[in-house]
Symmetry: C2
Subunit: 200 residues, 2 copies
């Protein structure tokens, strides 16, 4: 299969995603992408007239990846703890392993990076992120509810509170792992979260 004409567009989105994960939306420039792909800035503006357009495309691709991943999971065959472990693993893989090697901790997740820049983002990107976060809380809450129904989880507080805790801790764990250059920090924190939910 030949390289399609729109291949450049995909490469731009792919590399821009990595740049957001490492340097943030406001931390990268069209020049960074031009250098990496061996093209000129003006060519990027052809595909994405404004940086906001590119940011929106990056986040859409991110969400598409998340939803495709979830669509292929056989939830029926998993315990709640396994679902949660899979969630944590995907969260790490989508930022670390997918594009790079597993020992590279220089990335944080796209959603975490953008949430960190909340006050400096274009309005349309904020709307995307807000919608995703709403969905995200519901998704994690559904895993917890399932575990409770199966007598597998004995959580304290509300299901929503536990879901928020997991999402907050996951974002923070990737920040700390990047700072310490050690994915083991992330693994340690996420293990604690799962163990903390299990019935004693």
């Amino acid at each position: 299969m030949a390289i399609t004409k729109t291949d450049t567009k995909e490469k731009i989105v792919s590399f821009a995603t990595q740049l957001i994960e490492t340097k943030g939306y406001n931390g990268f420039s069209y020049q960074d992408i031009a250098d990496e792909l061996g093209i000129k800035k003006a060519s990027i503006h052809y595909h994405f007239p404004s940086k906001e357009d590119l940011g929106i495309a990056v986040f859409e691709a991110f969400m598409k990846g998340v939803h495709e991943h979830i669509a292929q999971i056989d939830f029926e065959s998993l315990t709640a703890a396994e679902k949660l472990a899979g969630y944590f693993q995907y969260h790490a893989e989508v930022t670390l392993v997918k594009n790079h090697d597993a020992s590279d901790c220089s990335h944080i997740s796209c959603i975490g990076a953008l949430t960190s820049e909340w006050n400096n983002l274009p309005e349309k990107m904020r709307e995307q992120i807000d919608n995703f976060n709403n969905w995200h809380v519901g998704f994690v809450a559904s895993i917890i509810s399932d575990g409770v129904a199966k007598k597998e989880f004995c959580h304290v507080g509300s299901v929503e509170g536990q879901a928020l805790l997991i999402i907050a801790a996951t974002k923070g764990a990737l920040l700390l792992s990047r700072e310490k250059t050690s994915i083991e920090i992330y693994n340690q924190i996420t293990r604690q979260l799962i163990e903390g939910l299990k019935c004693k």
Copy 2:
């Protein structure tokens, strides 16, 4: 008491702190400060020749505030749960209440903001942050250890793992609160953390 000659320097550090909390180190400029204080950019360069100098001064002031706060706590009179609650309250106050009003969620903590920008910070700032984070983990771990010794906390996993979880979740909780414009998210998450540690 008359306004001292170095008062401008303190005002610069104070407002730069707020800018880091809201827009990040790479998200603010000397112009932002000049506009706020009614001075010119060149005057800021007189006090802080480079932006890195200013960033370092901001973080030193942040650390000084933390250590002064801790020095005035009467640890002997508190339960471990109270110590932890105080930790969470200070973490929120130092970013929200101190300079502003309690319903303003547009700030995240100085340390959280800077950790989010890890890959875009000058080397000397990274060293400061790394040192602080090391101390930070030890401090939270000591609170947990104390609670365990008093049979107040029955945690799962290692003490260090629990401390990392608390620090990660706190950073993430402030990010989510800012995004949702609701400090109640932060309160909900930190309550879960305390309840999760208590012996059942």
